[in-house]
């Protein structure tokens, strides 16, 4: 589904300029990020590398973008001087946001398609917090409120086009390390009277909450079983159980997320940077690693309406990547050693 056709984007005829705008890339040193991409940098890179925005890969792209923006303005009866192109940063922990670049559309159309928003020595404040995730967004924005028209932007600050890039020095989502289901953990989860329980998924926290982190969720495994797995880490039995446990926590997280999303009618933007946002990213990347917004939105809707389908998609990917099907058949046949 096209972005402008979503219920949260009640505007028509913005698809061509959005597509032209999506050719905008962020360059951090040698790292190139396309729209929707995220990357992990070292703290040193984060604090020292130049940040450059390129509005198109070529001058031709840039010229097409300017034409597309002007065309969109004309279609919506917006004067060109009522639009501006901006680059805004959002440092997530301390809630610091800054405008690093802003030009009216006419001025933008006459300027260079490449904009350096930070150099090694000249960096705005929001770029000085490597412990936080940094989100950088480029927009074409309505600079003043205009007369309201159906299916057209009218409020000052409404964006017509947008691209997003995420930078972090944190560990990205890497799955879950099993924790020990010992007496203390059993007591904590009310499992004192169920000593034979072999695994427990702690998904009490909300994985769609941007403030949640991997540590809030636990994949607990019976202490004897976990120790046995650790002591026999190279057997195919251990390998199979590890993969099954991975699916267990994924399944539990998906159902927990579905419940949270339906309880609170959250949008995709509401859950930005949450654990579940990362899970959706992981399953929405194309072969170049770029998160495809449309695929992500489709998955997001799937989780809300049919979580079991997303569970199946996740299992399909996990089985495909880890060849679990083959190993399970060998196990059943008695060939696994």
């Amino acid at each position: 589904m096209a972005r402008e056709e979503r219920s949260s984007r009640p505007y028509k005829n913005l698809r061509p300029c959005q597509e032209a705008f999506e050719k905008t890339t962020l360059h951090v040193g040698d790292v190139v990020l396309e729209d929707g991409a995220s990357t992990r940098l070292t703290g040193r890179e984060f604090l020292n590398e130049p940040f450059v925005i390129k509005f198109g890969k070529t001058e031709e792209d840039f010229n097409e973008l300017v034409l597309a923006l002007k065309h969109a303005a004309d279609v919506h009866k917006i004067s060109h001087d009522q639009l501006k192109v901006m680059v805004v940063t959002y440092s997530t922990f301390w809630k610091i946001s800054e405008s690093l670049f802003c030009k009216g559309l006419d001025e933008f159309s006459l300027s260079d398609s490449t904009v350096t928003v930070a150099t090694r020595t000249k960096r705005d404040r929001s770029l000085g917090f490597p412990s936080s995730q940094l989100r950088i967004e480029a927009y074409c924005v309505l600079s003043e409120t205009i007369d309201k028209q159906p299916l057209s932007p009218y409020r000052a600050g409404t964006w017509l086009t947008k691209t997003t890039y995420k930078l972090s020095t944190d560990q990205s989502f890497t799955g879950f390390q099993p924790r020990m289901l010992d007496d203390a953990a059993r007591k904590k989860f009310g499992l004192e009277d169920s000593p034979m329980v072999q695994r427990y998924m702690d998904v009490e926290a909300d994985p769609t909450d941007p403030a949640s982190s991997e540590e809030d969720f636990g994949l607990y495994v019976d202490e004897t079983l976990l120790q046995t797995l650790l002591d026999n880490s190279r057997t195919s039995g251990t390998s199979i159980i590890q993969r099954l446990l991975g699916m267990n926590i994924a399944r539990a997280l998906i159902y927990r997320a579905a419940s949270a999303l339906n309880e609170d009618t959250k949008s995709l933007d509401d859950i930005q940077s949450s654990i579940f946002d990362k899970v959706l990213d992981a399953f929405s990347r194309d072969k170049n690693g770029k998160v495809k917004r449309e695929d992500k939105e489709r998955l997001f809707d799937t989780v809300k309406k049919r979580p079991e389908l997303f569970v199946a998609i996740v299992e399909d990917r996990l089985v495909e990547n880890s060849k679990l099907d083959k190993d399970l058949i060998e196990l059943v046949k008695g060939d696994a050693s």
């Binding site: 301390w94 600079s143 000052a156 600050g157 964006w159």
Partner: protein
């Protein structure tokens, strides 16, 4: 600038040893200092002005607990003390390098604010369960500085930053029972990126108080609108108009909109 930090490992170890205490004693504080390690380079961060503020905060805290308007509203007490934390750190000349370092905030939590964090923890517990941090409790989240809405010091600092308006921090404490406002509708969400918008919401809530359920509906509407908007260039008038529009939105279904 050189500033003190505590590793997460040391925090866990010390907090475990301090369980059950509502305030730390001299020997405990000496252990905190011994466990701390300096980060950064150059001039040492002088925290004496903060310590003076902490003394004032203790006194103010005691007085507020006796004040009928505040004693049943711990969030408001937090809001009243938040600017003192903010000012204390600013007056010390704290730089962004320290602000960004969780180790520094872990140090502050142990060296200066254990008493306050234990109290704040009390206020979140059922009355029968009120006691100091205890074995098996989920107390580390108040100390470890990982999530800004549960890390009490972080949220106080952000609260003061968002509330600060023309030299006044009044919006930090002016609204009553603001837990939901601050911890759900401002700090963790996009609205918190725009101090102008945050202050417009706070002003409106002071002027035209909404109960939790209605406020949640309004917050959802605001979040939905925010997906299409960039507020970085908004001014007070624009933010007030935006909040006013959602405050009286026809879709609000809670009876009476209170």
């Amino acid at each position: 600038m050189k500033y003190p930090t505590i590793t997460h490992e040391k925090l866990v170890e010390l907090a475990q040893d301090f369980l059950g205490k509502t305030d730390l004693e001299r020997a405990d504080l000496e252990r905190v200092e011994a466990a701390s390690s300096p980060e950064g380079s150059g001039q040492k961060l002088d925290l004496r002005r903060l310590k003076t503020k902490v003394t004032n905060m203790r006194q103010e805290h005691g007085e507020l607990l006796e004040d009928f308007d505040y004693q049943a509203d711990p969030d408001r007490i937090e809001g009243k003390l938040a600017p003192m934390l903010h000012e204390g750190l600013r007056e010390c000349g704290m730089e962004d390098e320290a602000l960004d370092d969780a180790g520094f905030w872990r140090y502050l939590a142990l060296a200066n604010f254990w008493w306050f964090l234990v109290w704040r923890h009390h206020t979140c517990q059922a009355r029968v369960d009120r006691q100091a941090f205890k074995e098996g409790g989920n107390y580390l989240r108040y100390l470890e500085h990982k999530k800004h809405e549960v890390s009490v010091l972080a949220r106080m600092y952000i609260r003061a930053e968002l509330a600060l308006d023309d030299g006044s921090f009044e919006l930090s404490w002016k609204g009553k029972t603001g837990t939901d406002v601050w911890q759900s509708h401002l700090i963790p969400v996009g609205t918190g990126f725009s101090p102008v918008l945050a202050r417009a919401l706070l002003r409106r809530q002071v002027r035209d108080y909404k109960e939790t359920d209605t406020l949640r509906e309004i917050a959802k509407l605001i979040k939905r609108s925010n997906t299409n908007l960039v507020h970085i260039d908004s001014n007070d008038d624009m933010a007030d108009a935006f909040i006013d529009y959602h405050w009286s939105h026809p879709s609000l279904k809670t009876a009476g909109g209170k």
